[in-house]
Amino acid sequence: MAEPLQTFDNKISDEDLIEKFQRGDLYAYELIVKRYKDQLLNFVYRFLGNHEEAEDVVQETFLRVYRKRHAYQRVAKFSTWIYTIAGNLARTELRRRNRRRIFSLSNLGVEDKEYEISDDILSPERHTNTVLSEEIIQREINKLSPKFREVIILRDIQELSYEEISKIIRVPIGTVKSRVNRARLRLQGRLKHLLDKNK
């Protein structure tokens, strides 16, 4: 009995689900949450590099969807809408975190500052014998500026089309392509020693 219901759940489009939810169907909202929670979590986690913060941002995204459900209009894809909300919240969180970091760095003593720097200039040669780990990739992603980080995650990890990315971050397709290209070049340059080992 559960199987036909699941098939129905999978067949129904996101846009139909949000319309049902707009009419008061809470089950449709639950399906939206189930469909998007991991996708969004991956996007936000890769953007922020912190699981706890990422989960908080995704929770806030779904809360916004709940509150502002009537703001969605079918002219746009639902995925674009929800990714835009998540992206905006993630960027806000990143700015907030940077402000906190600036404040805490200014409060650090000399010894603390030295420790902080030594962690940053960790030599790549020390990693040549280790396998290409996700942490290393994630750290290199985190070193990119947010505008490059966002597009490379959406394109290469989330595998969204350039057109959809352009709508999510509201910049022309040409700019998206150029940013993706530059981000890839930078990353492959920084991870070259690891990528070669992991061929």
Binding site: E30, V33, K34, K37, D38, L41, N42, Y45, H51, A54, E55, V58, Q59, F62, L63, Y66, R67, L132, E134, I137, D156, I157, K177, V180, N181, R184, L185, L187, Q188, G189, L191, K192, L195, D196, N198, K199
Partner: protein
């Protein structure tokens, strides 16, 4: 060098295979001779492969429970806008109406009380009359007769009805037997008013 720059620009299109045939052919030829660009292209292909291998992050098991709780709390915090029809529910409507009647009653009561407290229009006339009433005022040497004389000069200009009402009340009461003015200098006739400068 120029070809390297062009290749760098088109690198993503090249690895994603979205270039036109002629352009792809042109870049293939360049790669055969340029090891640096070939290495960059290999690097990007590898990078994308590694990105695809990244593990999927799973949300915590209580993700949906927490979300439901947050929604419930959010509903309590966010009060519905004033135009929301739920404010017109019968019970609430009666309560709001009663509150409105009480507020209007209070306002009406205050409005009724206010004229009784209201002072006559502020003017120098009042100040002068108060000076006359205060025995130990800052002008102790001024005689009451002079003050009344001054009042007669000033009040018609500032408060036209004051003089008339006072005169009529004076006429009704026996003015000559007024003990307060009897011993002092005789007061000049009330009419006509001479236009003398007011001096203390």
């Amino acid at each position: 060098m120029k070809n390297c720059e062009r290749f760098t620009e088109l690198l993503s299109d090249y690895v994603e295979n979205t270039l036109a045939f002629a352009e792809k052919r042109e870049l293939d030829v360049h790669l055969e001779h340029c090891s640096e660009c070939r290495s960059a292209a290999d690097g990007v292909v590898n990078l994308r492969r590694n990105f695809r291998r990244l593990s999927t992050i799973q949300s915590s098991p209580d993700f949906e429970t927490i979300l439901r709780t947050r929604i419930k709390l959010d509903r309590r915090v966010h009060v519905a806008p004033i135009w929301n029809l739920r404010y017109l529910a019968p019970g609430r409507f009666a309560a709001y109406s009663a509150a409105a009647v009480v507020v209007m009653g209070c306002l009406f009561y205050l409005w009724q009380r206010l004229p009784a407290r209201a002072l006559p229009p502020a003017s120098s006339t009042i100040a002068v009359s108060q000076m006359q009433l205060a025995p130990n005022s800052v002008f102790p040497s001024v005689s009451p007769a002079k003050i009344f004389y001054t009042l007669d000069q000033v009040t018609p200009q500032l408060w036209p009805n004051f003089g008339a009402s006072r005169k009529s009340s004076e006429r009704a009461s026996s003015a000559p037997t007024d003990s307060s003015r009897a011993g002092s200098a005789s007061r000049p006739a009330a009419t006509p008013v001479s236009h003398q400068p007011i001096t203390f």
